[in-house]
């Protein structure tokens, strides 16, 4: 039996990665050619979720924070990119604000990529502003504050009617997102996260996750790294939001509620926090599960079945295998206390 590990470690990782990516795009091309629009939609959605989940992984998995605001950042990205790309003709029809002069003027509509990036940047800026005061404090504060931020953003989305059309939302968004966009974004996200994690930044983040006080003693300033993780996470969440908006073609404030955050959190946790592959695994499995169960849900008239199962899976994971499907056991109980 050949020693697989030995062979594996000799193979140039980059070559391997490149081959896998190539294989991926080959499969996508085949899928696009052969499968139904519905399935292709789901596949694209998976790509978008990977962007969201992998970026949340940076904050939650690697730095040990517990941000619940991801949906808020996605909302920012979604609305920003939509408002930028919306075709000029449609703006009159759908009562959407025209772009101010410094963004191109009333006759302008941005192309997809810059709009996406703008969405991400805006989300990152908000993250930085909120993160600065909140990340100094104990982790729980971040959880509730980020949750609150998401609620605030949703409230804004509902009330700034001139900008966002309120709870009606925006429809007929040009569906620029396709499998290619989704998966190129996914690959880039995974790559960026991988680079960060394997750099000195990543080591610092992991040190903070393990033991913040010890990390401080080693001269690591926790705030700086937490802020970095939070902001970069938000950037990609913004991008994911923009991709989502241009995939489904419609966005409403309600779509970016706690439910969405929770879904992404679950995908990261069940897949495996703190590993690169984890979120991908989580996204794929849970998305497929959702769309497999959907017809059942409708047939039985049981709405919320999917969320129930998601929650159950989360509980089981936390109680049985907290490091997730792809995760390794991290650290250990500090002191063997007899409870």
């Amino acid at each position: 039996m050949p020693d697989i590990k030995a062979i594996f470690s000799k193979v140039d990782k980059r070559l391997l990665a490149g081959a896998l990516i190539g294989l991926l795009f080959l499969c996508l091309w085949a899928a696009k050619a052969g499968l139904s629009k519905y399935v292709i939609f789901i596949i694209s959605l998976i790509g978008v979720y990977i962007v969201a989940a992998e970026s949340l992984n940076l904050t939650n998995g690697y730095t040990g924070l517990f941000s619940l605001g991801h949906a808020g950042f996605m909302a920012i990205g979604a609305y920003t990119s939509t408002l930028l790309t919306f075709p000029v003709k449609g703006r009159d029809l759908f009562v959407i604000a025209k772009l101010p002069v410094f963004l191109g003027g009333p006759e302008a509509a941005w192309p997809f990529l810059p709009a996406l990036i703008m969405g991400g940047i805006f989300a990152a800026v908000v993250a930085a502003i909120v993160g600065l005061p909140v990340l100094r404090l104990r982790g729980h504060y971040l959880s509730v504050a980020s949750l609150g931020l998401m609620v605030l953003i949703t409230a804004l989305a509902m009330n700034l009617r001139d900008l966002t059309r309120g709870s009606i939302g925006i429809n007929s968004i040009p569906t620029y997102t396709n499998v290619w966009w989704a998966y190129i974004a996914a690959v880039i996200t995974v790559y960026v996260v991988w680079r960060i994690v394997n750099s000195s930044f990543g080591r610092a983040m992991k040190a903070i996750r393990e033991d913040e006080t010890a990390a401080r003693v080693q001269g690591i300033n926790p705030l700086k790294y937490k802020l970095l993780a939070f902001t970069v996470g938000a950037f990609f969440a913004g991008i994911a939001g923009g991709l989502y908006a241009h995939l489904s073609g419609a966005i409403r404030p309600y779509a970016f509620s706690f439910n969405l955050t929770f879904q992404i959190v679950i995908m990261v946790v069940i897949g495996g926090q703190g590993t690169i592959a984890g979120p991908v695994v989580g996204v794929v499995i849970l998305t497929i599960l959702r769309y497999v169960l959907k017809p059942l849900e409708e047939a039985l008239g049981i709405y919320g079945l999917v969320e129930l199962i998601y929650a159950l899976l989360l509980i089981v994971t936390m109680l049985r295998k907290p490091e997730g499907l792809a995760g390794k056991r991290v650290g250990d109980r500090k002191v063997a206390l007899l409870r």
């Binding site: 504060y141 605030l152 804004l156 936390m318 109980r333």
Partner: protein, 297 residues
């Protein structure tokens, strides 16, 4: 422009809501003090309490006092179950793990309720004597308002006495300060934690009833915002302080009422958002809250 009657009415409303927030905050802070955990699932107990009352009182037709006693018992039981199933294993591990588990349990219970009772809100009826309206020159209120404030204050007084005068109460305060030292004097921490859950959950259940009675309707997700706002109340009043939690609750109620009252109409939907804006403001300015001490990182 704003009449003094309007002001007084709003302050009164704020006190009523504040009383409910204070009760929730109380339960949450007890658990947070001992376990350093934001018990997300706490909110679910409100939902369970409200719907159980609906079941006992409206569906089964049990007399009011019996229904109340039953939901308190049910709440206590659920708290114990949560303690045993959810948290016993997670204690001693990473804090984040407990947060996630807590969240998972909340979502599970919420969606289970959604399944059982349907996504539509239910109309909540209370016994007739709680619905009587009293119109005074300065203030208008219903009996339920008095009930809520009186019960809340009663519970808070009772709890404060419990925590100061009884052996278990003092043990709880000691455990909140240092679990290790508590064990060294012979306190069984497991039992203290279980009792904390039981008390907090029973309080949450009856608060669920009050919530439903005040709003007139209940839905499967009513507990979520209530639970999170309870945490905001704790932060306002000072984490780790029991009087702080109660103070924070009342203040939150009044602040929320004020902002709703004084905002131009149409902005009322910002209500929840404002609560969180206040939270972020406090975290920036004085994270330890009004009565709290600086938390050790």
């Amino acid at each position: 422009m704003i009449s003094s009657e309007y002001l007084i009415q709003q302050i009164f409303n704020g006190i009523v809501f504040g009383a409910m927030y204070a009760l929730l905050a109380l339960g949450m802070t007890v658990i947070y003090g001992i376990l350093r955990l934001i018990h997300f699932a706490h909110g679910a107990l409100i939902t369970v309490g409200a719907f159980s009352f609906y079941l006992f009182f409206m569906v089964l037709g049990l007399p009011f006092p019996a229904a109340i006693v039953l939901i308190i018992a049910l709440g206590a039981l659920m708290g114990l179950v949560l303690d045993v199933v959810a948290y016993k294993k997670a204690v001693g591990g990473p804090e984040v793990a407990m947060l996630i588990t807590s969240l998972g349990f909340y979502i599970f219970i919420e969606n289970l309720m959604k399944l059982i009772v349907s996504p539509q809100p239910y109309a909540f009826h209370t016994p007739e004597f709680l619905d009587r309206i009293y119109s005074m020159p300065v203030l208008t209120f219903r009996t339920i308002d008095i009930f809520i404030v009186a019960t809340s204050v009663g519970i808070m007084v009772f709890f404060t006495l419990f925590v100061k005068r009884t052996k278990m109460g003092v043990a709880m305060r000691a455990t909140a300060e240092s679990g290790e030292a508590a064990r060294m004097v012979g306190i069984n921490i497991s039992r203290v934690i279980s009792i904390s859950f039981i008390i907090a959950s029973a309080i949450a259940a009856i608060t669920g009833f009050m919530w439903g009675a005040k709003y007139g309707q209940i839905s499967y997700n009513m507990g979520f915002m209530a639970g999170v706002k309870a945490f905001v109340a704790i932060v306002i009043g000072g984490v780790g302080s029991i009087p702080g939690a109660m103070l924070g609750g009342f203040m939150l109620g009044i602040l929320e009422m004020f902002s709703v009252a004084f905002l131009p109409p149409g902005y009322a939907a910002y209500r929840d958002g404002i609560v969180f804006f206040i939270l972020i403001l406090i975290l920036i300015v004085k994270p330890s809250g009004i009565l709290g001490q600086k938390e050790v990182e």
